[in-house]
Amino acid sequence: MLRVASAVLLSALSLSTLAAEDAWLLLQKTAYAARELNYQGVFVYQNGKQTRSVQITHMNNNGQEMARNVVLDNGVTLGQAGQAGQPREVYSQGNNVVIVRPKNQKVVMEKRRGQNLFPAMLPTDLRAIEASYSAQLGALEMVAGREAQVIELIPNDAFRYSYKIWSDTEFGLLLKMTLLDSKKQTLEQIQFNQISMLNSHDANWFHPKIDITKNYEMQDATVTSPTDSSWIVAELPAGYVKVEHRSLVVPGKAAQVDQMIFSDGIASVSLFIEPVTKGMRPKMGHMLIGSTNICANVIDGYQITVVGEVPEATVVQIAKAVSFKKQTASNK
């Protein structure tokens, strides 16, 4: 009901007179619009050297969100020559995501936990990001044939990138978003090339296009809850909080891997911890792939790997802040 009120308030105001405070109201409207409107379009995602076109159909039937994303083109995948990106369809219902893709003579389905998928990239609860970013209204621009209001999310410190958001002036739908580093260089861009609103509530489209005569294979991520944590992250970069902690079985690894996910409300960082086993070559250092920074470190015989769409300073700080409790009773 609050959002209806805010939408009414927004329509009553002229966009040109909106102050910084109102930039947040517009962001709030943008966050809800992506989840509540019925729309179909094609968006293009660019990260580093990679580009994908995706057709999206989104519907909200009485609070139940349904979306189908079909990847329209293939590209060369990250560093895996000979395994070019496979066509895939991503179905989501609420927070449940199923990825469907052909593999040899089978169709593989994977279940995932979905959150902040385009164009619903902004969290509906903006309080978390209000502490770490300031919002500013920019110019009016055209995106995919629609008029859009530019809103900039500028970080208050060096632990996050800045975001530029184009919000449809009529519907509030997020039409475009870019991720920029401190030098204002674009690291990642995602935008609609074509978008239209749907009037029907017909959900006939909500089924895979992939050949259904093939055998299906369900792939569940082998994830368990960690029993005990023998390590802590002493000092997280400001604004980041732990959102998830889980154990994974990663192929080729002898031991289970601990994964902890931190978020500042919009950006996410994963911390992976595994024991350095005999014959394993530990990794050190830092690298950047597209908008993703990766930092590796070794502490007390454990391999620490931190991955996130955040600046180098953030992954480096987290990778150094891990400390292990001593197994013995005596405190050291």
């Binding site: 995602y45 990260n47 994908r52 995706v54 994303n69 590209g75 995948t77 990250l78 560093g79 895996q80 395994q83 990106g85 496979q86 895939r88 991503v90 995501v97 990825i99 593989v108 994977e110 995932r112 936990r113 979905g114 959150q115 902040n116 998928l117 385009f118 990642e188 792939q219 569940d220 991520a221 082998t222 998830e244 994974l248 079985v249 990663v250 192929p251 080729g252 690894k253 994964q259 996910i261 996410s268 994963s270 992976f272 350095v276 394993m280 070559r281 530990p282 990794k283 050190m284 250092g285 690298m287 792939i289 993703t292 990766i294 930092c295 590796a296 790997t305 991955v307 996130g308 769409e309």
Partner: protein, 169 residues
Amino acid sequence: MKDQLSALIDGEFDIESAEHLITSVKAGSELKTCWAHYHLIGDSMRGDTAMCHDFSQRVMSALENEPTILAPNTISETPDLQTNTGAASRVFSVANYKSSKFWSVAASAAAVMFVGVMVLQQQVSAPEQLAPVEIAQSVPMEYLQAHQAAAPNGAAYYIQAASFTEPQK
């Protein structure tokens, strides 16, 4: 395998594919000796023979101080010794110090020393700890994918190479 080892030392072999070589060297096989030899050869060729040179010098001075070796200079001057030892042709003359034969002996001695030092060094440090590798040389794709699967950033779903739970072929 020795060729590969040689290439590895020369930096002409892909370090990521060299796991088997390093394992073999560590296992103390014949390759370990080769490892030391190749390094010695490499050091000598580069003139970077700090340790070997000193050692060779000491061998040389030791030989100089050794009367039984130094005494027979030439056959004509010391005919008695020649008959006494009966092996004059195998004894070094001062002129022969710089001959290749001498250097090969000195180098062998140095090599043995070198291997000894290598073994000692390995025993001091924890034997199972391999030297860390730069992350850029060995990108942890599995973690990149696990991150994107669990904490998707907008549209990362669409560019994933493959499921990280999928066994690699």
